[in-house]
Symmetry: C3
Subunit: 357 residues, 3 copies
């Protein structure tokens, strides 16, 4: 534990980037890459605080609802960033960051958890039924992405048809998500509780955690607006495509909370919580955040957004969900499974790197 | 049970559409949409009778052979309809109705069964080995569809080559089907018996059931010819593509028998029978009916039929089989799995709806 | 056992093709198809000897390392053949033989093993965790093949970019392979030992086996050079595309060792060994031999080789790995699973047959 608290202290130092970013922008009038980098770094500890605040709230409600809470507020950072990108008309970046969050949570975040947890524990076990429900919902969302992409590729239809199809699919995904909450919180909540519930809360009250959560979210919002405002300039400066920036960098920043929580839980051998957060977070991005952004796009930003992702994005999500499904089927993980997930992440990142802008 | 008998009585009322259809066509000379609608409605109770007759026959032979019998005669309606469409040269409709039957039986029929059964029973169990054999055979048939489609997409070959390839693949699929019968009825029949065999037959003899079956099939044939003869006019009137009519409407009519049987069995918690019928029916369409129609096309109808399905049809079948495989792997189902299968069905139906004619 | 020793004696007779090939080429100056056929036949018993020598070595080290040894030296023949093809600039044949080896080992070799073993034993069991690790690594390698293929299809990038991407992916695949050896031989070797270790060695020493292995490899090298030198002429004479020759014929010759060993083990109901060899061999081709050939291509042969396989090759490998994964998930096999794997092999072979050159 001691090592992790030290890591937290180190992360707390990154908070200094909040005033730095503000000063750079509003005092010195700096734009572009420096703002992008500083705002991105500033979000990392904030997302971390949102994660810890959520973890404390979760300690009051058990592993199942706790995992859900963790995923929700981890994804609040995502939603805030994507919302600002939508408003700025950067739909390519929005879709790239959604793609990056879905594949990042299962490949990078859970991969790292399974690797580091697996080094300490030869075999780690988790509830198969809950994991399978999560991966099946991910498969469902892949189907929701494949349909508009195939449509776009093979059918000569008007953009209007693609928007209508996307919106209808978004409704189905959102409805499925709501029903999955009924399943996991009501009718089959026993699958998500029990197992590895946390030790008693460390003294801090639910109220203090809630205040921390709300305050962090507000600052994340401020930083996100600056991050998004500088993404185009930064991509050009860094010689990366906007898609790479969205899939890898933005998603990395947005998933920092899940990342530290999942690794911590995996090392503590609380794999049910680790799996719930990682798969649950990807699933929530796909079934809740993505449809929500489609709906929001009719009110925020210059134009409505469809669900037509690029072929490479669709394939990346499909392959990631496929290998995660396979790995979680037996309800066990070991370090080599972590290696495999990370290897897929690296290969996909290389693909996005070389993809022309 | 009482509620279901009432449902059956309601269905029996639909039989009035048999004389109505005949009268409309031969007395009043009506053509097009009214004939399509009336013939379609008339087939529903008839397919239901074929289902019940088969169910009674099945009661004499146990769950395994019973499931097979159910699937066979449920698919007799499909085969009759598709045969008339083939004769009329409507190969697009034939392929669409095959696609619709394969995805309809696993997504709509089993999805509805798992949902309604799952509302009464928190977890429903079935024999994993038998289910896995069925889904693996479905994967095999998907491979049989993917090969000609990829060929058509990437290789510049003559139509003659595509026919030869399709016929050879049809032979492999049919041979695999025959061997799977040897497996399920001879060498490993114990996997299909036992479990949830029905209560003793309700007094009606096997002979009476057989007569009902044959009589229903004959009337289904008559109605099918009229249904197929009006499909083009109906599609135009209703503003739907022929493919949508084939995938959704014709398949719905053809699968009515499986639909009511599977839902009834699922509610009674006889999941082995429900799974055998749903998966078995899809599998039989893919491995037996589709190849048989390819062979028949050399004798019936204006031109031979290949196995080149449209990209969206291939993807739809592939995705449906994929999610069904995943859901059946653990030998358990719950209501949320039903929701997921239905959600995929709705999304695919929306895709077929918006697909240009 | 007696029957198999007789088969071995019959195979030994094929050794006569070694001097025949040499005489045809160097004494009578024959080229083309006769050399291709004779060299191919000569490799079969040699690969068989390499297999038996390896099996004997394996008897000294247990099932896990033994399976690995078997796969390594079975694939030595592959590597030797592919290396000569690379040197001759026949990159299409190299890729085709890699494709053919990957699909051949899981579909043809394991399919035949499961069928013949399953006829004697109603259900055969093997270690799920080891099999799943193997198939997951195969899925990983499929991802490694899909990325450059998608890239080639959708992104307009320079060939230079494709080479760089391929080389980077090759590094990831190779690194994953090395780590998988650490897993299977060090940290989790207990998963691979135990179970069905062989009977005590039949008297022959490890040293004699090693000498047999090295001598066989040398002659395989000589025959491979002649085989590769005549592949173009033979393809034209036989009316086959080079790809078909590579995927089916060359791969068949190269996998003869695994083929006889896997079938023998399956009949003896030593399924852990059979599965380890079949899946391990495919996996090693994909994660070790393919990357190694990419690296070698910078030193051997006229031009570097990328990992851009043809769409049909990528789909064939993807489908084969998919159905093998599904079949091995439950840790059991029966004869019908063998039939299904063989049916997929036949359908894919038909596809490669009709594919234009």
């Amino acid at each position: 534990m001691a090592r992790w608290f030290r890591l937290e202290n180190a992360l707390a130092l990154l908070l200094v980037f909040v005033p730095i970013t503000i000063a750079l922008k509003f005092v010195f009038g700096v734009v572009g890459t420096p703002i992008f980098v500083c705002a991105g770094i500033a979000i990392i500890p904030l997302a971390g605080y949102m994660g810890r605040a959520t973890e404390r709230l979760a300690e009051h409600v058990g592993a199942g609802l706790g995992g859900l809470l963790n995923a929700t507020f981890g994804n609040a950072a995502e939603l805030i960033i994507a919302g600002f990108a939508l408003q700025a008309g950067l739909q390519g970046v929005v879709k790239a960051s959604l793609t990056g969050s879905i594949i990042g949570n299962i490949l990078l975040v859970f991969g790292m958890g399974a690797l580091l947890g697996g080094i300490r524990h030869p075999v780690q076990r988790f509830n198969r039924t809950a994991a399978t429900l999560g991966t099946t919902l991910l498969v469902l969302s892949v189907i929701g992405l494949v349909i508009p992409a195939i449509f776009h590729a093979v059918a000569e239809v008007s953009p209007g048809t693609e928007f209508t199809l996307s919106r209808n699919i978004a409704i189905v995904l959102m409805a499925t998500y709501v029903l999955s909450l009924v399943f996991s919180l009501r009718t089959h909540s026993h699958l998500y509780l029990g197992g590895d519930s946390e030790a008693p809360a460390d003294g801090s009250s639910a109220k203090a955690a809630l205040i921390l959560l709300v305050a962090s979210a507000a600052v994340v919002g401020l930083m996100s607006e600056m991050l998004v405002g500088s993404v185009e300039a930064a991509a050009e400066d860094l010689g990366m495509s906007e898609v790479f920036v969205g899939v890898i960098l933005v998603a990395l920043v947005g998933n920092a909370a899940e990342h530290s929580t999942v690794v911590l839980m995996a090392i503590k051998n609380k794999m049910d919580l680790a799996v719930n957060i990682a798969i649950g977070s990807s699933m929530q991005i796909a079934l809740f955040v993505a449809p929500l952004l489609v709906f929001l796009s009719y009110f925020v930003g210059p134009a409505p957004m469809d669900l037509v992702f690029t072929p490479f994005e669709v394939v990346a999500v499909g392959l990631s969900v496929g290998i995660m499904t396979l790995i979680s089927l037996d309800g066990e993980s070991h370090w080599m499974e972590g290696v495999q997930l990370l290897a897929v992440y690296v290969m996909l990142a290389m693909g996005f790197w070389f993809l022309p802008a």
